[in-house]
């Protein structure tokens, strides 16, 4: 649902696999299921997340704020801007 000229935002997720402790919060609570647990291990032996469906990210930044390790941040993806508007 988009009102007036509000447009669909897109975000780009940056993941710092090194600091991740694999708690799974970002994967579990991402509202649009962008992330999934990777099968790879990091140096500490945890499975960090990866962006499985990057195009679905709407820049809500929930993963950024729930991540207890400060290992994810999201920026608005202007390049990938599709500018979908609904009147």
């Amino acid at each position: 649902m988009f009102f007036n000229n509000l447009k669909q935002l897109h975000g780009k997720v940056y993941i710092n696999e090194t600091w991740c402790k694999g708690c799974g919060f970002c994967v579990q609570f991402c509202p649009t299921n962008v992330l999934d647990i990777s099968s790879d291990y990091n140096a500490k032996g945890y499975h960090p997340p990866y962006a499985k469906n990057p195009e679905k990210c709407h820049d809500c930044q929930y993963c950024q704020i729930i991540c207890p390790e400060f290992s994810i941040f999201v920026t608005r993806d202007d390049e990938n801007e599709r500018g979908v508007t609904e009147k």
Binding site: N16, T18, C23, N42, Q64, I65, F70
Partner: protein, 320 residues
Amino acid sequence: MTTDIGKFKHDSPMSGTLRMERMPHIWCPGCGIGSEVNAFAEAIKRSGIDPKKLVVVSGIGCTGRVAGYVDFDSIHTTHGRAIPVATGIKLANPELTVVVFSGEGDLTGIGGNHLIHAARRNMDLVVICNNNFTYGMTGGQVTPTTPHSAIASTTPYGNYEYPFSLPFLVDAAGATYIARWTSMDVRNVTQSIEEALAHKGFSFIEIISPCTTLYLRRNRLGDGVDMLQHYQENTVLKHGCDTRETAIDFQGKIVIGKFVDKVKPTYLEAVDQCCVKLVGDDYQLYGKTIPEREAEEKAEKEKVAARRAAVLAEQTEANE
């Protein structure tokens, strides 16, 4: 697994508020403290307050380590003494915003007396209390808030004591801003911290959070994700709820929301009122008269409002 850490640190939106050179931190996987610090960092950015004028004080314990990770003036004190140290800082320089970030064992067990007296004085502090029902750093002992019947290393057969309900405790003591959230409710936590930073007087924000390694494991409650889901399903939002009705039972419903937000003269305002009667209009504290201090405070408030408006404008622009 090839993260460019230097670049990540540099680009991270947290880099101005957290000491990135000290990461990764010591907290366990799935521990709620990190999420709270994240929310705190976000709240500071949005609040518009001058980060130079912010001081973070912690006690001892897992949450006590927060002071070491935030990039502000910060003091990691002795066990239980964060609030009186914060009181000293605030009274030494009333222009500072002083935040106490500590755990429930630290603030309400060994430091309980300081908590209620700071609330009683309506000392202008923001107290953020990570409540995970356990002494994590020492291996999971029972705390003053551990629910009845929960297992801890020192209550191996279940806790037979009665816990504190913290909103009720600080309400009775005189706190003028009281909210409770869980570490799942990071958005609300952010907003509450923002409100508390702007609030004049004693603000208390309790954040229920999972201690995965000790409390959850010992009570067989799954991992961090399980607990956050439990919070999602078992929290009841009740703004303005009578704090007498905020007790927490083992794995029971958790009432969350903003319970108290009221205006009452702070400790320093009460000092001023008394001294100005005594000494007259040229009463000075640390060489500044009350009108001078008020003018400075007003100017700072305007700067804060302007910075805040700028942050908001940036966000709205992003949404247009």
